[in-house]
């Protein structure tokens, strides 16, 4: 980008950066500009935007969840009084071997628990919270859209279900049937939300696993990492454990499209 030929667009980029409203292409352009021209963010504009936002937020603070306040207080206690390092004791071979056996037993138990959680279908009671929250969500949210989900082909040909999403609450769920179980150590499902109004790049909707038998209905809560404006499609891909920043869409398990 040439800073001399288009000073207005540079200013607008800087303003967008200060407002934090640059889309991915604009942010890339801003980054190129910063690297090529030696111009960093416009601190004056950032100051103006920050002052206006902070002042408004300060005048109308939101009620923070009580549980989060308790967590913060707990963290404060830990921070104020960091755990003292344990005094170094001389250990004889017997106590050290006892300690070793203790760790070994604990490790075996942990492996057993993980293995059980991966192989054993979840009991109905373990699904109560998400089912309950989904039911409340459907009852109390007037703007929920329901989009039918369809599997693609192969192992996903019989996958079906729907997306339930609220723009207003930025909350939603996937209700899926016949989505094959995955091995979380090798791959995970990742949800993408296509929202062209926001950006041409899909928004990460979170990774999830299906550990239940494939015939069982699974309910997955959507965790949109960015604010969704007008979703046009929801896509499930299969990715490496932990998910990816940008999907190559090598394996697409299912798609739900908004009605035109």
């Amino acid at each position: 980008m040439n800073s001399e030929s288009s000073p207005i667009s540079i200013e607008e980029l800087q303003a967008g950066h200060a407002l934090a409203d640059l889309d991915s292409q604009e942010l890339a352009a801003w980054r190129d500009l910063a690297q090529s021209s030696g111009i960093a963010r416009d601190e004056q504009m950032e100051w103006i935007a920050a002052q206006l936002e902070i002042e408004a937020a300060w005048q109308a603070p939101e009620t923070i969840p009580g549980a989060l306040v308790e967590t913060l207080k707990e963290k404060a206690r830990e921070y104020a009084q960091p755990p003292k390092s344990a005094p170094v004791e001389k250990t004889n071979s017997l106590s050290s071997s006892r300690a070793w056996w203790g760790w070994a037993v604990a490790a075996c138990l942990a492996i057993l628990l993980v293995a059980q959680s991966l192989t054993k279908p979840k009991s109905p009671s373990s699904r109560v919270p998400i089912e309950l929250s989904r039911t409340l969500f459907l009852q109390k949210t007037p703007d929920v859209i329901h989009l039918p989900f369809a599997g693609t082909s192969g192992a996903y040909a019989s996958t079906a279900g729907e997306v339930q999403w609220s723009d207003q609450k930025q909350q939603g769920y996937l209700v899926l049937d016949n989505l094959p179980a995955n091995d979380p150590t090798r791959e995970q499902y990742q949800l993408w939300i296509v929202d062209p109004q926001r950006d041409e790049i899909p928004v990460d909707g979170g990774v999830f696993d299906v550990v239940s038998p494939t015939a069982e209905t699974v309910v997955i809560e959507i965790h949109a990492k960015l604010r969704i404006q007008r979703p046009q499609a929801f896509v499930i891909t299969v990715e490496q454990p932990g998910g990816v920043v940008r999907s190559k869409q090598k394996i697409v398990a299912g798609i739900a499209k908004a009605r035109p």
Partner: protein
């Protein structure tokens, strides 16, 4: 540090507002790991931090994680707070706002280029014009009041009401691109007016 905007140090010159002015300042006590002060800090600023986070982060669980990170950063950075340079509200707000914006930018998918480094925001030197403006919140209020009525309205909806650009577009019936452009142009104009005002004030003072 220059007498002007000190955003690089997350401290600036906003009017102290309602922050406690008792001595020693809250953040000074926080910097000494005073648990009581840290709990006061949570009670005093958690609503502000939560508001700033929820404006940009829709996911409740992510927002909660960010709030925890922000308070940890506040405690770590408290020693850098200088009451002569700005209020505690601004100090805390700057840390929170910057952390949230950094998080949202990291979530953005960068097409066909390498991922952004963590410090990408600091890649180059500051604009040299930064030092030419004193950041005074009273002046900023006057400047915003002198902007065109439509820009003021958009500023009110965006900054005061915390509406996204999309929400503003829906509310006002304006195209999204127009909302975006007008907010940006408004910010550019506010900066220009602030500079002009500062120059005039300097001339009168001189």
């Amino acid at each position: 540090m220059p007498q002007s905007c000190a955003i690089a140090n997350e401290i600036d010159l906003i009017t102290p507002a309602t922050a406690s002015q008792s001595s020693p300042p809250l953040l000074e006590r926080v910097s000494r790991n005073d648990l009581g002060a840290m709990e006061q800090c949570i009670a005093h600023f958690s609503g502000l931090v939560w508001n700033l986070v929820k404006r940009r982060v829709p996911s409740h669980s992510v927002a909660e994680d960010l709030v925890q990170e922000i308070f940890t950063e506040i405690w770590k950075s408290a020693a850098r707070f200088d009451p002569a340079q700005g209020s505690e509200v601004t100090f805390v707000g700057m840390i929170a706002r910057r952390r949230v914006i950094d998080w949202t930018r990291k979530q953005m998918r960068m097409p066909a280029i390498e991922a952004l480094p963590d410090n990408y925001d600091e890649v180059a030197v500051s604009t040299s014009a930064t030092d030419s403006i004193d950041c005074d919140s009273e002046q900023l209020v006057q400047v915003v009041a002198s902007l065109p009525a439509q820009t003021q309205r958009l500023f009110h909806l965006h900054f005061d009401q915390g509406l996204t650009q999309h929400e503003i577009a829906e509310l006002t019936g304006m195209p999204l691109g127009t909302v975006k452009s007008m907010l940006r142009r408004g910010l550019i104009e506010a900066k220009s007016l602030l500079q002009t005002k500062q120059n005039c004030d300097n001339m009168h003072a001189g």
